[in-house]
């Protein structure tokens, strides 16, 4: 018996058994049969045809109207059969695309890859998760020979592949920055020119750029329209928003950026993020800053990498595991 005959015999067996004794157990066998026939790409119109053949065989006296009714059912099911075959081909394409996306995400990671510096005076945690296949958020650390640590966090307006394409350009532009350029405002001014020149006029980028100076323990920063972060003061246990004003990158060629500076004390935390963190949406609406702060407080005793990971997990669950935007959260905590 070939496979098709085997399936036919199986269906006949199930059908006979059910008509003699209609039990849940036989229906369960029917479900398993269904699963198997779908796996083997038997289309629904073939099921109808088989059903008709078997009924005619099992009941030679089957009324003519029943037999005819199956012909019409088959005709109707044929359209469903086509839909079903389209699914098979779509699935195949989806699989190909998924593989392609995975490769692309790897390429992106190599292109955008950054190394989180490890220094005795700072505990650094960072997480960045794309909402779709590819990340339109970006962060980057550079530690120079005088141990200044600069950190960039950016978000292309838009998600997915277009954003990722854009980001790979930005990354290259950042690598081409003169090495001696350490002033956040100047860095943003340079990048703004590059973006304005090279990127589609409909695309904008927000970026926060900061430099941590380990001798004075100060943090200098500028922002190009980026989601504001928080400063946590260990002494008071208070969180304040890091205010910094500035136009998005790519809007206006000659934009100038203001530069700010904060003194950082032992135990203080600099909390930076993309708007994907605050735009996490649950049934009750957007995540309030207070909610976010309460999560930070909940995990505040942990190493900062665990804090950012745990907060991500909480917010992921809050949205039923469907991110609406790329999610990036970075915490720097002064240790000594």
């Amino acid at each position: 018996m070939d496979f098709r005959e085997l399936m036919e015999a199986k269906y006949r067996h199930i059908l006979e058994k059910y008509i003699n004794d209609p039990s849940e157990q036989v229906l369960y066998q029917g479900q398993k049969f269904s699963r198997k026939s779908i796996e083997h790409r038997i289309s629904p119109e073939e099921i109808i045809s088989l059903h008709k053949t078997l009924m005619n065989e099992m009941y030679p006296e089957l009324p003519e109207e029943v037999s005819l009714s199956f012909d019409m059912l088959l005709e109707v099911m044929l359209g469903y059969g086509l839909a079903y075959r389209e699914l098979q081909s779509l699935r195949h394409k989806q699989q190909e695309l998924r593989t392609e996306m995975e490769i692309a995400a790897n390429v992106q990671q190599t292109l955008l890859g950054t190394h989180v510096p490890s220094v005795p005076w700072l505990d650094i945690g960072a997480i960045s998760v794309p909402a779709k296949h590819m990340n339109g958020d970006y962060y980057h650390f550079v530690q120079d020979e005088t141990n200044n640590i600069s950190i960039a966090i950016a978000d292309v307006i838009g998600k997915g592949i277009p954003a990722a394409l854009c980001m790979s350009m930005i990354k290259y532009a950042m690598d081409s920055q003169p090495d001696n350029q350490q002033e956040p405002s100047k860095v943003l001014e340079n990048l703004n020119r590059v973006v304005e020149q090279n990127v589609d006029p409909s695309m904008f980028i927000t970026m926060f750029y900061g430099v941590y100076h380990p001798i004075e323990h100060t943090f200098a920063y500028s922002s190009a329209g980026h989601e504001p972060g928080f400063l946590y003061r260990a002494q008071s246990g208070e969180f304040t928003e890091i205010e910094a004003k500035g136009l998005l990158l790519g809007v206006e060629k000659r934009t100038k950026y203001l530069q700010y500076e904060q003194a950082i004390n032992v135990g203080d935390m600099i909390i930076l993020m993309s708007d994907g963190v605050t735009e996490c949406r649950s049934e009750e609406g957007f995540v309030e800053k207070e909610t976010l702060i309460s999560y930070i407080n909940k995990y505040i005793h942990l190493p900062v990498q665990e804090i950012v990971t745990n907060i991500y997990k909480e917010l992921e669950k809050l949205q039923h595991f469907q991110l609406r935007d790329d999610f990036t959260l970075i915490i720097l905590k002064r240790k000594v």
């Binding site: 119109e45 073939e46 045809s49 088959l74 005709e75 044929l78 359209g79 469903y80 059969g81 086509l82 839909a83 079903y84 075959r85 389209e86 081909s89 779509l90 394409k93």
Partner: protein, 133 residues
């Protein structure tokens, strides 16, 4: 080469005539019930496309015999506006009729062989074949 029987497609009832012709030939050639229905549906789709988008044209059915196998060939010809982007027309989900599984990719799936020739402004010729199993 076998003998062609053709049906002119001008109004919607001609679609039924084309289906009937296809089903008869398929039955004669010994196709099973499901394959008869598939051939008929493919013809129906092609005839409907002519009726809806080309205004008029014809469906021809031909019997094939090759190395001991019997088959059926459907040729759909029109002088309509033609298909601008064939690559796109053959993609799932771009079908003009909009329905799941419908359109030219559906016809291709129902049959064994499929060919298309179209020049914008000059009409379209679609050939589809199926062999008795």
């Amino acid at each position: 080469m076998g003998i062609q029987s053709c049906v002119k497609i001008i109004n919607e009832w001609d679609i039924v005539a084309a289906r009937q012709l296809g089903r008869n030939v398929a039955k004669e050639l010994g196709f099973g019930t499901v394959d008869q229905a598939r051939i008929t549906t493919a013809i129906s789709e092609l005839a409907r496309n002519i009726y809806l988008y080309a205004g008029q044209g014809q469906i021809c059915i031909e019997k094939l015999y090759e190395s001991g196998k019997a088959g059926l060939k459907v040729v759909a010809i029109d002088n309509g506006p033609g298909i601008k982007d064939i690559r796109q027309a053959m993609e799932d989900g771009y079908s003009t009729s909009g329905g799941l599984g419908a359109g030219l990719p559906g016809v291709k799936r129902l049959m064994d062989g499929f060919g298309i020739n179209s020049t914008p402004g000059n009409g379209t010729e679609i050939t589809a074949t199926k062999w008795v199993r």
